[in-house]
Subunit: 430 residues, 2 copies
């Protein structure tokens, strides 16, 4: 926990710096895995599952029966919760489907955009202790709403060759078309090239460890798109004198528990709130059942006392946090000042975990400062926006001079001719 009071602006660049990510060494390992998957297909995936996941697999595809069984393995309570979350996420993402608006830019010239689903998408869900079924919701729901035909999901098996039932249940609920037991860089390679069982896809989504991150970058060399660049998860909380220190501490810890590299920043304008939040964070940390990660992450957290909310927002825009919590009074008036953030939580009752699970917003967000130039995942991430135009003879006539003069000035005579020849024809007929 690094505590600072009213630091000079000149020193801010030190606070907003993210830990450097070294990837050079991974490139070779990832390239070798891609090569192996490209050559040997499913067999390579079976071999890697044995090597990396200690799982003996006969078939990498999750069977219908396994999916059905999964439904009986999880509690009714959890099923209800997942269904409730799905409703809200669906509502919010469905509102992102645009109406088609035809614009007549010039008389006889009509232009518009239509969404077209990316036909084949792949979702990667990491293994490990926490089964991230919430990420299945966040990626499969907009994929299905967008109309993606093939929505495949890859996730590593456990030692017994099984996939966590909550993941299987959620995947089926959200329209995932095929589920495969494969993880790491090999899963990304399989979705890039396709294997006997796994279809290749046009875009790959989802979080993962450093190998998965490097593999997603590498996949772009094969014309596959990815959701966004990756980095450790982050929260920045801004608190005024009306904030509740206990709530702020809980939010900071809920970010810190994601991993030892999680970034946690607390900015307060009230010294009393500031000091209480520090004490409360330590107190709540001790009470957490699984607190090693959070404790480790908190060591690098910054607690900074600020002169004003405006100054705090200036800092936040420089940092460009994945999650920004505004635990301040009259938060409405500060909204226009927010320039760089992935997702913003307003007021004392908008905790990050609401957005992580169930409020309806997406939790796949830009980290590592990428909130300066990238959006989080939304329905838009699963479509292409295709432009259409229809010109009548009269419409083209209205643009004739403009196009001809510009094409000639750019030295593109065939461009000019494509207009002239059409209107010469028209003139002849008139």
């Amino acid at each position: 926990m690094k505590v600072n009071r009213y630091p000079q602006k000149e020193t801010w660049s030190g606070f907003v710096k993210r830990p450097a990510i070294k990837r050079e060494k991974l490139a070779e390992i990832v390239a070798a895995i891609f090569d192996e998957v490209k050559k040997k297909g499913d067999q390579a995936l079976i071999n890697f599952a044995e090597k990396f996941d200690s799982a003996e697999l006969k078939d990498i595809k999750v069977s219908e029966k396994e999916v059905e069984t999964a439904e009986n393995l999880i509690s009714e309570e959890l099923k209800t919760a997942i269904q409730e979350a799905k409703l809200n996420i669906t509502k919010f993402h469905a509102s992102q489907i645009p109406d088609i608006e035809k614009i007549e830019t010039t008389s006889g010239v009509v232009c518009w955009r239509e969404n077209r689903a990316i036909e084949k998408v792949g979702i990667y869900i990491p293994g490990g202790t926490a089964p991230l079924f919430s990420t299945v919701l966040m990626l499969a729901i907009p994929a299905q709403l967008a109309g993606c035909e093939e929505i495949i999901l890859c996730t590593p098996p456990d030692k017994n060759g099984n996939v966590n039932p909550a993941i299987l249940y959620t995947a089926k609920l959200c329209g995932v078309t095929k589920i495969f037991k494969t993880g790491g860089a090999q899963a990304i390679a399989a979705m890039t090239f396709g294997t006997e069982s796994i279809p290749n896809v046009y875009k790959i989504f989802g979080p993962g460890n450093q190998y998965v991150v490097a593999a997603k970058e590498f996949a772009q060399n094969y014309n596959v798109a990815i959701d966004m660049p990756a980095g450790p998860s982050e929260v920045l909380v801004i608190a005024d004198e009306n904030a509740v220190p206990e709530f702020c501490a809980a939010d900071l810890l809920s970010q810190a528990e994601h991993g030892s590299d999680s970034q946690v920043i607390f900015l307060a304008t009230d010294e009393n709130i500031f000091n209480q939040a520090i004490l409360e964070t330590q107190k709540q940390l001790e009470a957490l059942p699984r607190n090693e990660m959070a404790a480790e992450s908190l060591k690098n957290s910054h607690f900074i006392l600020m002169n004003s909310i405006n100054e705090a927002l200036e800092f936040s825009n420089l940092y460009a946090p994945e999650h920004l919590i505004l635990a301040v009074n009259n938060f409405e008036k500060y909204i226009p000042q927010i320039r760089n953030a992935g997702s913003v939580f307003l007021g004392n009752y908008s905790c990050e975990s609401a957005g992580d699970y169930a409020s309806g917003t997406n939790h796949t967000l830009p980290t590592n400062g990428f909130a300066k130039n990238y959006s989080g995942v939304s329905l838009d991430s699963f479509v292409k926006k295709v432009t259409f135009q229809n010109l009548s003879e009269k419409g083209l006539k209205n643009l004739e001079k403009t196009i001809e003069v510009m094409a000639e000035a750019e030295g593109l005579f065939a461009h000019k001719n494509a207009v002239s020849i059409r209107l010469k024809e028209q003139n002849e007929r008139i």
Copy 2:
């Protein structure tokens, strides 16, 4: 010109293949240039201008006076054309500014998205014989509409150290904030790192030669975003018995003249139209004043006779063209079948050059098959869509169970606690 009649579907994969792009050798050259620009800043750019552009520069920044003078160097006719085009491009891109729609996903839980401009963007405009002022329109207009604060433009100087006046005029007209005389990979490096004169930017847009393309990819290693992956320009024309062979030929040639690597595909369902279009293409080619490029590109073009418009659309979706021209009757009924295309031109009078210059749509589009997974440039390319949420106490109470059950099932106890602690507080107070 490669002519095929009713090829079997099994053979289509041969037609849709793009030429492989080899970039391995460029990486070293580009890395060295980035290194030099990072170390020496403006001086490196002045040195590179001497080496690559044979230009002796004192200052890489285009002065106010140069911009003013440019206005007097171009014809009134061209100025009027550029202004007309600007009006239409502005109209269409302004229509892409969304209304803010607040969604109450659950009682007391309100979620929405707001656009936030990418604060600093860079536009690259190549040099060479054709001054691409139309690309300045296509990139600077949406940047200004989005509200980008810093819109910088880099373009190589000619031997006399000047920039084409049409580029300067258009840049000023469209709100470009600073213009610099630097081209190639060094311009991309300058916008990535910043120099004494050139601000670093968060996203780089624009076309360029193989060095520029490689440099844009390389810039992504430094957390800069780019508009989209690059490739040679393409058109695919689908014609039925109502198409006009002269128009089709003119459209094919207007694509072919872009460069010797341009991709040109003609699909017809009527043998008569097919044969006439082939003859007409050769005839128009000979009449073109600057036809070396077009002649070279046409050698690799495919003229394919198809069984039906449906079959042609199936082929087109597999190819995923940058530009798709539907020169067919009743084109409306085929629109839903179009899945993969950058921009679509409907009917006999919607020529590609209309969209290239003046109809209002953007001409920066996905090529090389990327229309399967990328959109063209639009207003969206210059903003981040930030999600916001506000939960009342009651709203959080409504989600309490859902979040707590899910967080616990994912083993994230601090996530659960961020909710519990807020509602415990509420309960105590009630």
